[in-house]
Amino acid sequence: MPADRPALTLRRVAVTGMGVVSPVGSSCDQFFDNLLAGKSGIRRLSASFAGGLSARIGGEVEFDPAVHFPKAKLGLLDRFSQFALVAAAQAVLDSGMALDDKLQERAGVFLGIGMGGAQTLEAGYSELFLQRKERLPPFTVLRTMNNAAAAHISMDFGLRGPSYTYSTACSSSSIAIGEAVRAIRHGYADAALAGGAESLFSLGTLRAWEALRTLALEDAQDPAASCRPFSRDRTGLVLGEGAGVIVLEDLESARRRGARIYAEVIGYGAASDAAHIAKPDMAGQVRAMRAALEDAGIAPAEVDYLNAHGTATVAGDVIETAAIKQVFGAQAGRIPVSSTKSMHGHLMGAAGAVEFVAAILAIVRGAIPPTANLRVADPECDLDYVANEGRSGIAVRTVMSNSFAFGGSNAVLIARSLEACHRA
């Protein structure tokens, strides 16, 4: 640790840049405009193999790799790494940050990745098993490894601080962002690119999810409305792909360079269920939300918007609702809670990051995106889910984003507008 930094002084952490690649848009503006308007990016999957699936729907990203990468480089990049790099480039550009040698030395990469290069691996194995080939494409390992995306971001932007990849299923990128915040707070880095990426639309992966019986059935009339969190007629989650990356900086450095500061990350809580590999657990979720509130040093009632985990599984939404009630008590019904997964689907490793971006944009835009497709009230889900219609023109100062994972690894992030931080 450099001698000029006093020990044990916790630094504050600002969000100064954001980038998204998502089924509802691949710029922050388009992403949030569509969410606010309740527009779903879920549709029938385009791949030829999708026809045989019982649920042939997903949140696919419209994406032409050739626009972003030269052919020689593309050979090294699975689709999840492509998404991560594009989101990272958006975020860096958006931040206006000058990545000089001094900052590069002290900047890290913190990514959440679920299944990494599942598509590359599956394509390689199908050549091996079906075409009886004796060789796999030579970059199979380099494309598939979970840390490939973080490595490419580190190389492309010359970031020589810590580079970590977290893989905790659905909470991966919330944990990545939370750990990046801690690293900056505690002085292990001055800035970080943090977020997550995922792309798993391959036959094997979709069949594996199908077998688990957690995927939504396709809505026969309107495939785009197949994901219905908190609605009594919900049937399960819809997979999505994409990436979200944010630029985190030491708040004082960000101020010194005159950066536009979207929000301060004031709270991060992580807690495990220690209960069941797949079934969500209310106590674990409560612990994670309380840990985040305690870390932020705020009362539950100060939260103006909660971006729920809200996957639209029959059990999950009821348990999250109960957990929110336990944490927020009498205030629970007054806090707008929405699941944007209703529109972009469940982005797995990228879910926490894109949803945190949505929550921060709620502060920036003074608007709250809805839970789309909430058609039938469920007596067991009785909070204000911002049903079907987004809300604009409201002051959103403090936001919470929930991510609860298979395996019971829960993570909750809290961000606050800087103006609100000053008042506090």
Binding site: P70, K71, A72, G75, L76, E134, R135, P137, P138, F139, L142
Partner: protein
């Protein structure tokens, strides 16, 4: 097309280079081809020429070395068939 021509074309296609820039006797590094690039090209050559690259490390320094290796593997293969 000679083996060398075909090898140059495959390298150019795979690595986004111009075939005419691929001087057969210059070191590969000077042409902007690193070790990963060589591995990628070898994989394509196996498919294109229907040969199997040996697992033991063969010294490859130039495009000509690659073309020579392909020629040797093709003659060994055809010899084995005969």
């Amino acid at each position: 097309m000679s083996t060398l021509d075909t090898v140059q074309q495959i390298i150019a296609d795979e690595l986004d280079l111009k075939a005419s820039d691929l001087d057969p006797v210059r070191p590969l590094e000077e042409l902007g081809i690193d070790s990963l690039g060589v591995i990628e090209v070898m994989f394509k050559l196996e498919d294109s020429f229907g040969v199997k690259m040996p697992d033991e490390r063969v010294p490859i320094r130039t495009v000509q070395d690659i073309a020579d290796l392909v020629d040797r593997l093709m003659s060994e293969r055809d010899g084995a068939r005969g």
